[in-house]
Symmetry: none
Subunit: 193 residues, 2 copies
DNA sequence: TGTCCTTGTTGAAGATCCTTGACGGCATGA
DNA sequence: TCATGCCGTCAAGGATCTTCAACAAGGACA
């Protein structure tokens, strides 16, 4: 039912990196036994352990499970099916998140009043652009700020430092695209007890 | 280090599905306490538990971690400055038309009632996707038709024959993107969306 | 042969996850 | 006001994951 063989997948990646169980364990900060048991599917590792192990290869967790996606190339997405990649404050809903080798990221973005991508400017490879669908947004690119309202648009080289901020008192909605596909994610830390 | 907030992500998905901790737990075959502890990052769930929970939404494990990937001229356009490339019946307004070596075409599209890209299906290189902002559109891709309404989205390989048609009695608005850009600047040749 | 290194496996002990069964808070409604 | 129901949280203990430490098998070298 699981449909995904964690042990086999780990072994495959480990061998691809030409690492022994012990060597991988050492880099990952776990014991060789852990690797052994996981590879035999004798246990189902915790996400935290799995992540430690993958980080040592390195392979992202998302990549680890990449084979799990049914490789289906979907065309239609209901609004509720878009993949939320926002941080709780602002909402970014990605179209076709699971699509393999997507050439663009198309995102339905909602910025409540006060929402802000942060004073430390974003910078990454590629190009991005979008259209403001509703509300007002303050967009700063390379030091130049502008207020955009419904119907206005933007397009810039993503290497230029940029920032989105809703300085109005109503929600702002944007549909954006960027190429090559990239998106960041809020971060957090797990704690022990 | 973790860089990925499992608890917040689970909560986000659960709320999107409008499920309580108890209801999700019931469907997943775990207890509500498990959900609670995971959402608080008090524990790092085992992969098997996480999978049971996600299966109940349903969300693939790959999708769960989709946001985990690390991220890595003229900028502003007033609505009136977008370049109209429609045919008089429907309106397509291109963002950054004159930008050299643009990697995408982002288009603000308006389809009045009855508007139609034509019975002879469009086919061209690249990929395209978009979000329906208002109204309803009938999108046919590779023989399969679907009605999309505000908030819905699509993404497909542009080589598949496709057609957009507004079969409702109100205007439909879409923001779309395609890559590589199918439209060069304002001059002459238009090839199709 | 013998030693030394590496490999992956495994039982028992320890650490963590998960469930049981409670609790208080906040609604709805008798 | 009290009952009912659903919400999310939490302590304790059982279930599972992870480590520790030992083991056997194989290769390299003398």
């Amino acid at each position: 039912m699981s449909g995904f063989n964690v042990g086999a997948r780990l072994k495959q990646l480990r061998l691809r990196a030409t690492l022994s169980q012990r060597e991988l364990a050492k880099r990952a900060g776990v014991t060789n036994s852990t690797i052994s048991l996981i590879e035999q599917n004798s246990v189902s590792p915790s996400v935290s352990s799995l992540k430690k192990i993958l980080d040592a290869m390195p392979v992202s967790i998302s990549e680890f499970f990449a084979g799990e996606q049914t490789s289906q190339e979907r065309v239609f997405y209901r609004a509720s099916e878009l993949t939320e990649i926002g941080d709780g404050q602002l909402s970014w809903r990605l179209v076709g998140a699971r699509r393999p080798n997507r050439s663009m990221s198309i995102i339905h973005e909602r910025y409540p009043p006060g929402a802000d991508t942060g004073a430390d400017m974003l910078e990454h490879e590629g190009e991005e652009g979008g259209v403001v669908v509703a509300g007002t947004i303050e967009l700063t690119v390379d030091g130049e700020a502008r207020l955009l309202t419904a119907g206005d648009a933007y397009y810039f080289d993503s290497r230029l430092p940029h920032r989105f901020r809703n300085v109005s008192d109503s929600e702002c909605v944007i549909v954006s695209a960027n190429n090559p596909p990239s998106f960041s994610d809020g971060s957090g830390e797990r704690h022990h007890h």
